[in-house]
Assembly symmetry: C2
């Protein structure tokens, strides 16, 4: 048995830990310098109900801000300290916008939302208690995830680790009166070989930063005098996997960067550039009408972006085609993508966006405690967004929304729009305390995508718009939707400055 | 003997490598995908003289831009792809300005400067040839350096590595007609134990980013419910070592961040914050008159920033005082600074700025080839900025300026002002081809520093100004000095937005 006896004897972390207080001169309190109470939070509660919101995305962030601070103590628990305005991420990843214009910090002087940076580790619906793992210095901060962060540990190892973390105050308990589960989803890789390790994702701002740096360094590598033309072609061959809005918009932004800036900065290199979008499905942008999707495809074709539908990625690895597998990318070797239909192709980088994987918190911590949607694996809720138990009951005071939840008898897509409408509705109902008289309904305001060269797509009930007008709508809508005045001022400023002077290509 | 025979037999890398061209189907050309020529550069030369500029700081960046592209082919070789406007770095490190407002990429659509991202590795003054090590994916990109990046290797190991790099095209030769050495300096740590590993420096934009993230995470750690008050005090105890303008301005910017933003965002934590500036000298800001330095010290005292002069740092390590040495910083343990005068003190972070260490390129690659200044170790030049040989001659067509050079019979300080005046002067002389009739003279335009709370110091011949007016001069001067219109628009925008809405505290 691997586990030391001490750890096993320490007992259930849930039952008693939050009530223990160590004397201040206890040896390991001096060493770890951590208490294990949440007293200060309790003292500021003032008879208000505590609403703990797990997650700071479209659902959690909006809901926490909208709660009436006279009635509720809103506490956001999230591994990241900010909300990401996801529709602008692709723009930030090529420098059309600066990264921070797509961010809003959860802590704000204009709201009374409390915040703890951490992961929800476990929840006990009976005693209304959460176990939280702090994540202030989480090395994955800002990066999208593709799997459970504890997946390398056995259950016994994880249990042991939890004991240690609890002792150090890295794992602590918090009670709730109402719990909002809005933890979102991870990136789906379908366990394609090498994708987790070598692909670039685009779900958080750290991803955008990684993409921007890699993208620009592909050009800089290619500009070295010793790089051969063959290698230049590989470095400047960009693969995008997934023909949804993220993949399409990123290709469009990349194309803009190349035609508007790189052409002037690296005039000799642009002839080597190629962008290809791969998708397993027979079409891309399937959420749009056929007419609009076709418009986008024709536009891409004219701009020289290849769209390869019904293509299957089998592997993504470091190094050039034909070269032996490398562990660490040294020199300008780039990556190799292997397709069922075409074999190995040398690329500079691969941006991966093939949909969502259910959050391991839902899959593991809530296993057996809530009813889950068969298809997505998400938490099933009723029309009031209340989480359902496996035997069709209701988990008391627990709500679920955003990409990790699915409302019964609906097929609302896992989009920001659905998440934020649910959040607005739920905050209103909780503030008015009239949830029992209401049921959530979704109002589809349409879908939009940017397809490059100042052109867009916009589709809502009755209106199909493509081209420059749709691009204006795209920009206008996202500017209006921006949360803070800060960003509402910065975004058009950057649009103007980067149009007038070009995007910044400094890498750091 | 460790070195394989092959490497020894390969001969002097200088003598013949640049003229070898491998047949395109040669085996390892297919593997490495690299050529070893700089043909494209040669083809664009058009009978112009090639001026290779080593470095992209105040000296190298300005000079390369100012050279007449009809007369010279300017080629900048630098491990970083941008110029840093250093006086604004402290502002970016706390979020008063966004990082990129202090950067200008070397590649620009408005100049004809060629750029290769790499380190100068060796130089042969006889054959006018440089050996360059490419650095596109350098993991230290954007970070200030404290020692030779090859210091862990023996001479034999390095020689072997160079052979391998040369084969891969990672090390390549370039000829010059004129060579400008403006490689700058590294950070001085006086080999104080643990400083290289654990201190935060402030010389490049990656440093500023690291500081901003750590700074904000100190507050976030301290805000966790399980952090004890004792630990909070440690995490929010900020040490600054070095009472020069960098150390003082950073303390001032940190103080502004705390009083203007953190006080509102973490109201319970501000009482724990403390800032201390340590210096071995009996005074700080020694480049200012006693009156101005005293004004700054009194201002700091009123604002609660401690200045401890005649203090000696003996060690900086991970962990809390009294705690055993830790290799990796886990949990919220912060750092411990050990002072000769006060013993161990727990701190959240230490910003280190105690002057300059001579660039190893000057110390190693140029050893015996140029005359060096006894005190700084810099390259001695004559009044025309021409590098001197050890026997008081002139190295033909080699100029040295910036922090790595010292003009004979002068004691000009190692400042941006001196570097940029030298660069402007040299570019003009080279463009007019009249250097033999001229000698460089420095015109002191005064010194400035920001001391927090919208107050500054400004001193020039005949004028001593302190307080708000000096702060206006400080802002006005740096805004006017900004290189690009892009940044001249963004900087006041950020000043306004952060004044109106507060600084952004998102970490990623």
């Amino acid at each position: 048995m691997l586990l030391p006896r001490r750890a096993v004897l320490a007992g259930d972390t849930f039952s008693s830990r939050s009530s223990i207080r160590l004397p201040s001169k206890c040896i390991w309190n001096t060493l770890q310098k951590r208490g294990i109470t949440i007293e200060s939070l309790d003292s500021q509660r003032n008879n208000r109900e505590r609403v703990v919101v797990l997650g700071s995305g479209w659902a959690g962030y909006s809901l926490a801000r909208d709660l009436d601070s006279k009635k509720y103590q809103a506490v956001v628990v999230s591994p990241r300290s900010y909300f990401v305005f996801t529709p602008l991420l692709a723009s930030t990843s090529v420098g059309t916008l600066e990264f921070r214009t797509a961010l809003e910090p959860v802590r704000s002087r204009r709201t009374k939302v409390e915040f703890f940076q951490g992961w929800a580790d476990a929840v006990d619906f009976e005693s209304k208690k959460l176990s939280i793992e702090e994540a202030v210095e989480d090395p994955w901060q800002g990066r999208s995830l593709t799997g459970d962060r504890h997946e390398d540990e056995s259950q016994v190892e994880r249990a042991h680790e939890k004991q240690t973390q609890a002792k150090k105050g890295q794992l602590f308990d918090m009670t709730y009166d109402k719990l909002i589960i809005a933890v979102g989803c991870y990136n789906q890789t379908f366990n394609t070989k090498g994708v987790k390790e070598n692909a670039f994702f685009l779900k958080d701002v750290g991803d955008a930063r990684k993409i921007r740096n890699r993208l620009l360094s592909c050009f800089e590598e290619a500009a070295l005098p010793t790089t051969s033309d063959e290698m230049r072609k590989q470095l400047l061959n960009f693969a995008v996997v997934g023909g949804g809005p993220t993949g399409i918009e990123w290709s469009a932004e990349l194309h803009d960067l190349i035609t508007e800036d790189m052409k002037k900065l690296y005039p000799d290199l642009v002839k080597h550039v190629h962008i290809t979008v791969y998708d397993v499905a027979p079409t891309v942008l399937s959420m749009f009408d056929e007419k609009l999707a076709k418009y986008a495809m024709n536009h891409f074709k004219r701009e020289g972006i290849s769209i390869k539908t019904s293509h299957h990625v089998e592997e993504l690895r470091i190094g050039a085609p034909g070269q032996e597998q490398k562990k660490i990318r040294d020199d300008a070797t780039g990556y190799t993508i292997k397709l069922k239909e075409e074999g190995e192709i040398g690329i500079g980088m691969c941006v991966w966006s093939t949909g969502l994987m259910m959050n391991p918190f839902v899959a593991n911590a809530l296993a057996g405690k809530v009813k889950r949607d068969e298809k997505s694996g998400g938490i099933m809720t009723n029309g009031r967004l209340q989480a359902k138990t496996e035997n069709e009951g209701i988990v008391p005071d627990v709500y679920a929304l955003g990409d990790c939840a699915m409302m019964e008898d609906t097929s609302y897509p896992a989009t920001a729009q659905v998440a934020s409408q649910k959040a607005g509705w739920l905050a209103k109902r909780l503030n008015k305390r009239d949830i029992e008289q209401n049921v959530f309904t979704y109002k589809d305001l349409g879908v939009m995508a940017y397809i490059g060269n100042s052109k867009g797509l916009f589709q809502s009930s009755g209106a199909d718009i493509s081209g420059r007008v749709a691009w204006f709508i795209w920009r206008g809508a996202y500017l209006a939707k921006s949360v803070s005045w800060r960003n509402r001022m910065l975004i058009p400023m950057y649009w103007f400055i980067n149009w007038a002077f070009g995007r910044d290509i400094s890498r750091f």
